[in-house]
């Protein structure tokens, strides 16, 4: 997910109207820098964060003068939104909004491609209102103004707004396809006093698998890696998929569905998963698994590590050999529970016996052992 000001820059490059904003990075002189450059008040100071619900959490502050702006900026930088401090504050002229609309373009499996959603009343309460109008576009070049017009007929009575929304949705859909965006959400889309529409907010999510043909997506991924600690960065460099949870049983797992199944089973057995960690997209070798152990071993919250891999293309004797190597070089004494299954699993016991490890045949047994160990460690 891009920050609001990054998303707006993308929209602006496609000829979409956005407020003229000023991006303030954190730092001692942040407030001064902002006050020095804003000439007209009131302004909006907006926390730049990568999670939703900022509006409800006080992440947008109206400032009537330069002192108020300085105070707002200081306060925003000191606040956490969705567990993270703002990476920047965006200062924009306070808009004289006549009506807040909602417009988004997003990939949707049901539409075989993109779907456009429109609500005549946008803003932070959008989810509580009636469902938005839904135009299933499909492939972006299938967008048809007359089809969307038909869809909007019963949702937007003002035909001038309707026509502007259609033109904007057409532009957004093209932009999404061209820049490999999976979501472009504008909420609110501001109807201004002059009747024109302006993107007052922008939530843009890009398709990271298109990084090979979009250097800025690649750049964003690199940036995201720089924002995290070294150990997690090493994991991300191995394509591991990681989500931190609040439990103590860590997973070194393969396959998203199987990882979630193991998480669920840990909970079922009375334990608490410490993370979702799917190592299958990267190399299933010592090089691949090593950073996972390094991260989990260093994480004080983690009490036990459960290695759960059910491989098809991944051959189990190779995974077992990697585990042997990693266990040999590893300093941590955190217990590791193994459950390998799949291709060539019959070769695993012989390898495991070389370093005294035991491979559980059933996931249930491995999970039970991990939960037992975690409780013992408390």
């Amino acid at each position: 997910m891009m920050l609001e000001h990054e998303g707006k820059k993308l929209l602006e490059s496609a000829g979409i109207r956005v407020p003229k904003g000023l991006v303030i990075r954190p730092g001692r002189t942040a407030a001064e820098r902002a006050s020095a450059r804003m000439e007209r008040y009131p302004v909006a100071a907006k926390a730049q964060v990568r999670s939703g619900g900022r509006g409800r959490q006080g992440g947008i502050v109206k400032a009537a003068d330069s002192a108020a702006l300085a105070a707002a900026i200081e306060q925003l930088f000191a606040t956490e939104f969705g567990g993270a401090r703002p990476e920047a504050v965006l200062v924009e002229p306070w808009l004289a909004i006549e009506r807040e609309l909602y417009l988004s373009v997003a990939v949707d499996g049901r539409a075989d491609g993109y779907v456009v959603l429109y609500g005549p009343r946008g803003g932070i309460d959008i989810e509580d209102g009636p469902p938005p109008a839904r135009y299933a576009v499909g492939a972006a070049h299938r967008f048809r103004t007359h089809e969307m017009r038909e869809v909007l007929k019963d949702h937007e009575p003002d035909y001038q707004v309707r026509e502007k929304v259609i033109a904007l949705a057409q532009r957004l859909t093209r932009t999404a396809a061209l820049h490999d965006c999976t979501t472009i959400e504008i909420n609110p889309l501001a109807k201004l006093g002059d009747g024109d529409l302006m993107a007052a907010d922008a939530k843009v999510v890009r398709d990271e698998w298109a990084a090979f043909r979009n250097r800025d997506i690649a750049g964003q991924l690199e940036q995201a890696k720089r924002r995290v600690g070294r150990r997690l960065r090493d994991c991300l460099n191995m394509q591991h998929m990681y989500v931190r949870l609040d439990g103590d049983i860590a997973l070194v797992s393969g396959g998203a569905g199987m990882t979630m199944a193991a998480m669920d089973m840990i909970a079922e057995y009375g334990g608490r998963p410490a993370c979702f960690l799917d190592c299958s997209p990267g190399p299933t070798s010592t090089r691949g698994y090593r950073p996972a152990f390094a991260m989990l071993d260093a994480d004080p919250q983690v009490k036990v590590i459960l290695v759960s891999v059910f491989g098809g293309g991944t051959q189990m004797q190779r995974v077992a050999n990697s585990m042997k190597e990693i266990m040999a070089e590893r300093k941590s004494r955190k217990p590791v529970v193994f459950r390998l299954d799949g291709t060539n699993v019959d070769q695993v016991p012989a390898i495991f016996s070389q370093f005294g490890a035991c491979n559980h045949a059933r996931l249930e047994d491995a999970v039970a052992a991990a939960v037992r160990l975690a409780k013992g460690a408390q």
């Binding site: 499996g109 398709d207 949870l245 569905g257 299958s280 098809g312």
Partner: protein, 300 residues
């Protein structure tokens, strides 16, 4: 019978000279898959094992009557390879690649529809009709022939569940990995429809997860008067909202995409919802028992 894949499919491999292609020839053949051709532009005339290599799908089809393609090329080349297979007349095209931009999937799916081809992928282990043939890297020992059709959003989870079914004596007609991406070559709804029409399939096991809308169509199917019994396991009970759990589509973005909402919806529709991985066999047995299948949702 089975769906999409059986002993008659004549398979060509795009990217046969790569590591995955070469491994696949051996493994899939051992399982009974008819591998008749490989594609590797510039290396036409070569052989991988005894499989002849061609420069184009058209040439391979002319020489070998191949009708099915499996694609092992880097993500950036998948679009070109699958479109070639589809537009050259293959009736089934499988692309297991993960890391495919969703734009490309959208285009491939549109082309497949236009040409009346089935496309399975991306981000899937492929599909297998146990005892007949397989198109992918799933571990063969997990499967046995039978009458349960399996549809899965996740690879490993389908190996795990099928192994449990097999050990319990419940065989499978076909196991289709529909993949974890938001746009799919074959959707759950389409796979269900194929299983519905397959006389050899008597019930369906659906392996889903949080996020996305696929499960809506599973519920819709199960609610039909003429539906075959459907059992479903939805993983991600412990997944937090707003976080992507590996798969692009495994993200709880709204209440309807949560585990609880999906389970509730499936139950109402009469799906036999599995409580957790350990319950797969029992619930499947219940779904298969003629008495139970009349009492919708009783095993949930």
């Amino acid at each position: 019978m089975s769906i999409l894949l059986d002993r008659t499919n004549r398979v060509l491999i795009q990217g046969i000279t790569g590591q995955m292609g070469t491994f696949f020839v051996e493994d899939a053949r051992k399982y009974g898959t008819q591998i008749v051709a490989g594609i590797s532009p510039g290396r036409e005339g070569a052989r991988v094992g005894d499989v002849p290599v061609f420069g184009s799908v058209r040439a391979a089809r002319e020489a070998t009557a191949a009708d099915t393609a499996i694609v092992f090329v880097p993500p950036a080349a998948v679009l070109g390879a699958t479109l070639e297979a589809i537009e050259s007349g293959c009736r089934l095209v499988v692309a297991t690649a993960d890391e495919l931009p969703v734009q490309d999937t959208i285009e491939i799916r549109a082309a497949a529809k236009l040409h009346g081809a089935a496309f399975v992928g991306p981000n899937t282990p492929g599909l297998i009709s146990p005892g007949k043939a397989k198109l992918g890297f799933m571990p063969s020992f997990c499967y046995s022939p039978g009458s349960v059709g399996v549809i899965s959003r996740s690879g490993s989870l389908s190996y795990e569940c099928c192994k449990r079914l097999t050990l319990a004596g419940i065989g499978q007609s076909t196991v289709v990995g529909i993949g974890g991406d938001p746009v799919k070559g074959t959707t759950a709804a389409e796979a269900l429809e194929l299983f519905h029409r397959d006389p050899e399939t008597s019930a369906v096991l659906y392996l889903g997860e949080i996020g996305g809308t696929e499960e809506i169509f599973v519920a819709e199917y199960a609610a039909r008067g003429d539906a075959k019994p459907v059992a479903a396991l939805i993983v991600g009970h412990t997944a937090p909202p707003g976080k992507k759990m590996g798969h692009a589509a495994a993200l709880i973005d709204s209440k309807a995409e949560s585990h609880a909402a999906k389970v509730a919806m499936l139950r109402v529709a009469g799906v036999h919802v599995v409580g957790g991985l350990s319950g797969v066999v029992k619930t499947m047995q219940a779904a298969l028992s003629p008495n139970m299948s009349a009492v919708h949702g009783a095993t949930a």
